[in-house]
């Protein structure tokens, strides 16, 4: 049982780190329970994303570098599901926008049909281009005026089509569905080709999703951001004005402000833990099932699996959609936690490549490894900055006060993050390619 002991100890280590963050302000710890819970919450979300990526990479060997895009789609789902309905937007142009989008989809579908069912040749090219051009012109003709009228409605506050006004928790599965849809489209085109191509295709789709979110103001207000999204938990101010809560806080020996912030964050932590455990359980069951064994067989030798009658491309598509859906759920949870949608903050280094570091360090192919990697790497991602500043203070301690080099070094210490993450990734790949908790 030494293996299990070792792995349990690793989890205990992460737990102790987060507890220490709350309890002491020694070295780089901040000594604030709020900060500890912030790290824990994002760590849990990162762990869920890592499970999604681990399903794709660890189970099936698919190299997806578009995690950012699926995360952002999850965020979009929160806006579309939970923000209040804006009747004016629907009466002025919302219906036309939906119609235009349906038109666009129909154009693409008919183009696909034409390529499928017409014999190759000049005629097909002609019909195809005619359908595409006419479809595009009609789409723009319906779409542009509708967008203009929707964006004109109270632009300081809305200017978008709003949402469905449903409970925000429903947005989590909706985020998964949205991401799954996008993953199906991209998988349909890029799977079955070389592994590098999927990487480049997903890198591209992620950039495009972010570009759409930034520029389509009618959808999610673009870079004007959607703030004040509904929350599944009460607001801190409401708690502070609630006499029974203040009384309870007093009985715990905390002042109401700290108590309310900690209470809300702990509530989120509880909800996220439940989602994480459910997904972890499902992923474990899937891994152990015949389906999971087939996936690993495909990963280890595609040709052999194909010879045994397995439809490799179909299975790849299936698992690609599943993994992306989990990233979408995590993205929706993250936007709920922030209670705002800020398309400008999505950065591939943070939302795609960092998740990869988590999966590789944790142990690809092992779900518990992914969870551990998610929590551990997130802790370091937050803490590398204060660590770097400590290190730089140590290095520059002997330098003359006010020297330009010293100032530059201290100022740039915050950029140590990317360097450290790259270094960790390379070291793990080189010396322990199976990760902290290797695949069984």
């Amino acid at each position: 049982m030494t293996e299990t002991m070792k792995h349990t100890l690793l989890f205990v280590f992460v737990g102790v780190m987060i507890l220490a963050e709350g309890a002491t302000d020694f070295l780089f710890f901040s000594g604030s329970w709020n900060s500890a819970l912030v790290i824990l919450n994002m760590g849990l979300i990162s762990a869920i994303m890592a499970i999604g990526v681990n399903i794709q990479w660890g189970f099936a060997g698919l190299f997806n570098v578009g995690i950012m895009g699926f995360t952002a789609l999850g965020g979009l789902a929160v806006v579309l599901v939970s923000t209040p309905v804006i009747p004016a937007a629907w009466s002025s142009g919302g219906v036309s926008i939906v119609m235009a989008l349906v038109m666009g989809a129909l154009t693409v579908v008919s183009a696909v049909m034409i390529t499928k069912f017409m014999p190759a040749g000049k005629l097909r090219m002609l019909v195809l281009s005619a359908v595409m051009i006419v479809g595009f012109i009609v789409y723009r003709a319906i779409f542009d005026p509708a967008v203009g009228s929707v964006e004109a409605i109270n632009p300081a506050l809305h200017g978008n089509i709003g949402g469905l006004g449903l409970p925000v928790l429903l947005a989590w599965p909706a985020g998964g569905l949205l991401a799954a849809g996008a993953a199906w489209l991209i998988g349909k085109t890029a799977l079955g080709l070389r592994s590098d191509y999927l990487a480049i295709a997903t890198l591209g789709i992620a950039e495009i999703i972010i570009a759409v979110l930034k520029n389509e103001d009618w959808l999610s207000r673009g870079v004007k951001n959607v703030v004040g999204l509904p929350r599944p938990l009460p607001y801190e101010v409401d708690l502070q004005s609630d006499p029974s809560f203040v009384e309870r806080a007093a009985s715990w020996g905390m002042d109401p402000v700290t108590a309310s912030t900690v209470y809300v964050k702990a509530g989120y932590a509880l909800m996220f833990t439940m989602v994480l455990l459910a997904l972890l359980w499902m992923a474990q069951m899937a891994l152990k099932s015949p389906w999971g064994r087939m996936m690993r067989a495909i990963r280890d030798n595609e040709t052999a699996a194909e010879a045994m009658g397995k439809d490799v491309t179909r299975r790849h598509l299936q698992i690609f959609v599943l993994g992306s859906a989990i990233c979408g759920i995590a993205g929706a949870m993250m936007t709920t936690l922030d209670s705002q949608m800020t398309p400008g903050t999505y950065n591939p280094l943070r939302f795609t490549f960092l998740i990869w570091v988590m999966v590789i360090v944790g142990g690809s192919g092992n779900n518990f490894g992914a969870v551990l990697g998610g929590m551990l790497i997130w802790f370091f991602w937050i803490k590398v900055e204060p660590m770097g500043i400590l290190l730089m203070e140590l290095v520059t301690a002997g330098m003359a006060e006010g020297s330009a080099l010293k100032a530059h070094l201290l100022e740039s210490a915050s950029h140590m993050r990317l360097f450290t993450m790259g270094l960790i990734l390379l070291l793990v790949l080189r010396f322990s390619p199976r990760g902290l908790i290797p695949e069984k």
Partner: protein
């Protein structure tokens, strides 16, 4: 109808920027395609190699400027370029020794190489941000324009001006020289021939006594030089910002794949295809069409197919179409 003015407007807003951007993409895609041909993986660290080379060049340029050294009408960066190339070569050879060589000896799968290149990308990105910071840096000096719009108007008496920036001229000329030298090297020299042999058939090349480590070393040196030149030209033409270089990865990969990964001619063609599609699809054609069409047909709107923010979508769409219909690229690359 005024065809001459339409032509000038077209040249000014589409042809010249497209040519300059296409040359930059072509140089970048050549680097990606060479790595793919010889080392057989997609190098995600390429954008950051470009950023590193450009950064060294910028630092040397600033040093030259403070010493009062300049190249007259040309940007000082051209004098600093060789030093930037040397810096980038040192960096990529160091990464090859410390990182990639281990996996070559292991005969690791290509996807492992890609993942390793992600780690390298992170570290290079960190180094660049650490040294020069994440912000915008301008380092272009010398004469700004070859032809100014106003001078052109006075010279020709046309309504439309034509402006050609020095950096655009330099970009195109440098690209032509670099490509010519590269093809001469690949086709005429012994090392170049051994590189092509190694790329075509590794085992056969090894049997005929080609030293693989030497081939790999030369490849990295050429790639570092190409990346630095592309990075400096892009930085001169637009501006230097580490994150933009990372984002250039997508159009560069698209160029290399559209042309056919592993095929140098394809990389150049791909670069121009991607650049011109981006420029033409995101350009508002109102002006050109108003001049070019009879008055009755003149458009009311901007006639812009997509807003400029979607230029990534254009390279991506082309990439998808090529992947669907001709996965080996237009010029018969290696990958399927």
């Amino acid at each position: 109808m005024d065809l001459l003015n339409a032509l000038v407007a077209l040249t000014n807003f589409v042809l010249v920027p497209g040519l300059a951007y296409g040359s930059q993409l072509a140089l970048g895609a050549l680097g990606v395609t060479l790595i793919y041909g010889i080392l057989r993986f997609s190098n995600f660290a390429h954008g950051d190699t470009m950023a590193f080379g450009a950064m060294v060049t910028i630092l040397i340029t600033w040093a030259f400027q403070s010493m009062g050294l300049s190249a007259g009408v040309l940007p000082t960066a051209l004098l600093a370029l060789p030093f930037g190339i040397l810096g980038a070569i040192a960096l990529v050879l160091l990464t090859d020794r410390t990182v990639y060589r281990f996996y070559r000896e292991q005969k690791a799968k290509p996807v492992i190489f890609v993942m390793v290149s992600l780690g390298v990308m992170f570290m290079m990105n960190g180094i660049v941000r650490f040294i020069i910071g994440p912000g915008d840096q301008r380092f272009a000096d010398g004469e700004r324009f070859i032809i100014k719009a106003r001078t052109f108007k006075q010279m020709t008496g046309l309504n439309e001006g034509l402006a050609i920036k020095t950096t655009q001229g330099i970009t195109v000329i440098t690209a032509i020289i670099v490509v010519a030298v590269l093809f001469w090297f690949l086709n005429k020299t012994r090392t170049g021939k051994s590189m092509r042999a190694y790329s075509d058939n590794e085992d056969l090349a090894l049997l005929s006594g080609i030293n693989p480590e030497r081939v790999v070393m030369y490849t990295w040196m050429i790639v570092a030089a190409l990346a630095t030149i592309a990075g400096v030209l892009y930085g001169l033409d637009k501006s230097f910002k580490p994150f933009t270089y990372f984002q250039l990865l997508l159009p560069i990969f698209a160029s290399a794949i559209v042309g056919g990964l592993g095929n140098p001619i394809g990389a150049i063609a791909g670069g121009f295809i991607i650049a011109f599609s981006e420029v033409t699809i995101t350009y508002a054609w109102k002006k050109v069409l108003t001049y070019g069409l009879p008055d009755s047909l003149a458009p009311d709107g901007l006639v812009q197919l997509l807003s400029t923010d979607y230029k990534f979508a254009v390279s991506f769409a082309i990439l998808i179409v090529v992947l669907l219909f001709k996965p080996t690229g237009l010029f018969k690359g290696k990958a399927v």
